[in-house]
Symmetry: C2
Subunit: 592 residues, 2 copies
């Protein structure tokens, strides 16, 4: 129907006769001539209809925004004063000679450009119109190019694309499952997968060696800004490779994606242990664009009378740490200092001590601070030394239970980075490694920090003896403070797998019932294997600079897990429910 896309026409096309199809982005009448900006996937070109071509002029006069047109015309150079440097097609225009209206359009309910200021609910209700906006077109175009580049990379590296089931059994990722009642197996339910974890491990047991899938995953959780009930994972698993090799392959992929799609060289990713990440950045996904670091000062304040510091300093579970903001004196207002005090309260801190270093040569009068009077001069000097403070710097303090200090100062660090625009680079990737195998719950039971199939870096005996000391062979890829992906070497030994289950309090019978097929698979020649999963939505979001995950998904759900366009979820008639052997629970039943 068409000869060219609108958005690709350039000076080199001058004098060509083209047929274009697309939407009327704008139509204006100027000095008796009609100008139509015609839009398609590739961009916009200006088309001119003048009254000399009478028949088509009249039709052109009738078109309105978002009409669908097919038109023919000759490309010509625009007059020098009419060249539009803001349009890639701005040097040319199409002199229209034929026009067909393929479809009309009513007035759209909101403006389809960057000035859209309607609420997101309206955008989602008319998603098919919202997706016409340049930003959304670019995002989904980018997403498609990204997945193609991912597939090409993995294909070149010998990975096989293998599909795993959507209708499956509850998986142990820990989030709530979406359930699907079975019609043929009365009273039983499928679960939608939270990840293809066990299936991909079984594919390694089958000998496929290198597997990948761009896989839909599902979690029925209360949604935060960057979560969706269904999300997409770049899922990877390999056999006979150790952590280093898996990290090298996947790091290579991300580096290639940034190079190919954004022209950015990320360089080699630094490594950091989980312990160091928590200690210095207060986060297991540190944002290394921000040059601030937490500095331990427990030893410096253990003897002071000031209980706010000496208490935690002498508590084995306590922590006293500080963050220095270079030049903070001139950047931070009194109000900001107060606001940060409230901000760290979110993380349980009971206040935020600080020192403004006005003149560090004067330890008496040169330090402006609500707490400095409680600290002897030598301690003041020692703190300034350790933080290498200079005149004009501000130092923030955290003193409390270690967990609170770490989280509060870690969060403050990111907030300072954002508020004061302290970023030293645009992209800061790293690997976080050497995670603990388990974390302790309040009741003393243990939870797997990653998942129960993660291999520890010690023997089953050592693991059992001291589970909280054990480190795992897991690795997370972090970019700009966001976890892009995570993975691990997996357990390929039945005894080790059972040891982990036991430590997690999963007894023999439950092991058989839930994971019998995995335990069986491990005894018939399971190879050493491991892998990784990336969050595709989040990767696209970061790479396109989108502020919401919903802006990189064609048809996302709202925060209440609904689709306002199709009105899903919907009601279902009783006959259907009866076929599934279920019924709706009555309100009164739930109260009782």
């Amino acid at each position: 129907m068409r000869s060219d896309y609108c958005g690709v026409l350039r000076s080199a096309d001058i004098d060509r006769v083209v047929t274009l199809c697309g939407w009327v982005d704008r139509r204006r009448d100027h000095g008796g001539v009609i100008f139509i900006d015609l839009r398609d996937r590739e961009g916009i070109v200006q088309v001119v209809f003048d009254p000399d071509a009478a028949e088509h002029f009249e039709m052109a006069d009738r078109v309105r925004s978002e009409y669908v047109l097919k038109l023919t015309g000759r490309i010509r150079a625009r007059a020098p004063e009419a060249v539009n440097p803001n349009m890639v097609t701005g040097e040319v225009e199409v002199y229209g000679t034929a026009l067909e209206i393929l479809n009309t359009a009513e007035t759209v309910p909101f403006q389809l450009d960057e000035h859209t200021d309607v609420g997101e609910d309206i955008r989602l209700k008319y998603r098919y119109l919202d997706l016409r906006r340049n930003e959304m077109q670019n995002n989904l175009y980018f997403r498609s190019k990204l997945t193609t580049a991912i597939r090409n990379y993995l294909d070149e590296h010998g990975f096989l694309d293998i599909e795993t089931p959507i209708l499956t059994r509850a998986t142990p990722e820990g989030a709530r499952d979406y359930l699907v009642p079975s019609r043929t197996h009365e009273g039983k339910f499928f679960a939608l997968p939270q990840s293809p974890q066990l299936f991909k491990q079984l594919l390694m047991v089958s000998g496929f060696d290198r597997y990948y899938q761009i896989a839909k995953c599902f979690r029925d959780e209360d949604l935060r800004a960057d979560r969706q009930p269904e999300f997409t994972q770049i899922d990877i698993e390999t056999s006979f490779l150790d952590e280093e090799e898996i990290m090298a392959i996947t790091e290579g992929m991300v580096r290639k994606l940034f190079k190919e799609l954004k022209g950015i060289e990320l360089g080699e990713f630094p490594r950091m242990t989980h312990y160091q990440a928590m200690l210095r950045y207060g986060s297991d996904k540190p944002d290394l664009r921000i040059p601030l670091e937490m500095v331990e000062i427990k030893d410096l304040v253990s003897e002071v009378e000031f209980k706010v510091f000496s208490g935690p300093a002498n508590d084995p579970n306590g922590r006293v740490a500080a963050i220095k903001v270079p030049g903070g004196c001139s950047k931070l207002t009194r109000k900001q200092l107060d606001d940060y005090g409230k901000f760290v309260g979110i993380y349980g801190a009971r206040g935020l001590a600080y020192i403004k270093v006005n003149d560090r040569s004067d330890l008496e009068g040169g330090l402006q601070s609500p707490i400095v009077k409680h600290l002897p001069l030598d301690v003041r000097a020692a703190i300034l030394d350790r933080l290498q403070a200079k005149d004009g710097d501000v130092i923030f303090f955290g003193a409390d239970k270690a967990k609170i200090v770490t989280e509060a100062l870690g969060a403050l660090r990111c907030k300072l980075g954002e508020d004061l625009d302290l970023y030293t680079c645009e992209w800061a990737p790293l690997w976080v490694v050497a995670f603990p195998m388990f974390e302790e719950n309040d009741d003393g039971s243990l939870t797997a920090l990653h998942h129960p199939f993660t291999a520890p870096s010690c023997s089953p005996e050592e693991l059992q003896k001291n589970p909280l000391e054990a480190l795992s062979r897991a690795y997370d890829m972090v970019l700009n403070g966001t976890e892009l992906g995570g993975g691990s070497a997996r357990i390929h030994d039945q005894a080790m797998q059972q040891a982990v289950f036991r430590i997690l309090g999963i007894e023999e019978a439950e092991q058989r019932e839930k994971f019998g097929f995995l335990l069986d698979a491990l005894k018939y020649g399971a190879p050493p294997h491991g892998g990784l999963a990336f969050g595709l939505d989040r990767l696209v979001m970061l790479m396109t600079g989108s502020s919401s995950i919903r802006d990189v998904i064609a048809f996302p759900k709202t925060q209440s897990a609904a689709c306002v366009m199709t009105d899903a979820p919907g009601t279902v008639d009783t006959k259907q429910l009866r076929e599934l052997s279920i019924r709706l629970r009555q309100k009164e039943e739930k109260i009782s």
Copy 2:
């Protein structure tokens, strides 16, 4: 961990020292030397351990089938008498110098080669072992290569890969939906998509121009041999292209796939109208490998006294037709002729008349048949002429309601093709076009032959006037009697869409409730658009020559829609159901 895959080693590698990882396919002890066939994804190579390398020899002596090994050795030529022409690596072997047992294996529950004769249930229960078999490895390897080739083709042709939701609203494909109870919207349910049909149409309304997705689709139907509750579709939609262009692009894709992956030139696909396909082949997906055709003889027998023929011949809804089997006299036994009589009974035919043409010059004694005596000589001669029968041919007859004759002789045609191996070629693709828009149900209501979004080739007024005469702009791609894919130009005009809904008995209120978003989308500038969907599983099945769809899916469901490996679907505790505001229906409730 490894330097090479086992299956790729050749004479050119002689003298190289390699490290291999894989599974023990077979271990045998021959003249004091141990031979291990080591297997990985790429194939098998023979490794030799002799007693001179004492330490590793002992370990080699301990290995058993399916142990996982890492070993090192030098490639050497086999002695001429030991060359194995049946193995691609059969000219070489690895002289083992180091060996590590990475994992042991218990005796597997069935033999992992082509001689497996256990039931499919056992294979599915231990699917991770079944997938080690050469056939299954090849199938999934092929499937991955096929999807990669599909994506590359579509990518080169400007198609964007866009994901559509899995948690969505009931779609109108007509099969039973899988439902997912919503936790946040009490008493409401998502449906899993039977296809992304409406979403892909909306993407065209959004201006994405060319969309594709390799999409999971779901149907809760009672399963036939070639059906699965979840299946995979190559889903394609385009704007501003007419049927011819869409057919050209997708035919080009299938031709390229056959060329690239199987080295087969399919050539240009012939076209056939639905009417011709039914008339000549008794099927809307004719298998053109079989040279038999149905021939109309209604006019020849309308005057005969033989009511079995003249009855249908004089009934406007009747049909009398014949199929000639060249040389059938010597190929078909009396028993087969009887069996075919029973076979057509499946389709409602009350018998199968035939004539064995022993000597066509003798219309009296040369024709062997239970019915020929009821036919005058001139009719006999006319029939033989029309069918161009020769001595030794057999002619079968169908005389009944047109539907019965068409179906029965259509099925008989395929059965004869298979039984007598009449195939004239290996691959016979074609397009079937010009389908009716609607078919009539027994109660006089109408059903869409494809789906309600298929565009007719007439105006809304003509459509309304004579719906049963209307043809659609649909097209099916058929290969060897299997429907590979189907599609159509879609309705992009609101008035036309509403006309179709009305003809299907969907009233205004129901239209709004179920398809309001589509009808809205059509009024804001919907472009002309159309597309196609291929069944990926079926395509892989045909191209790999597999006999079951389950052999081309990594983790398929059984015929009762269960996974015997993970034991899905499973039971769910009451707490989970309560969160979803549903409960199980009690047995007694269902009886009442």
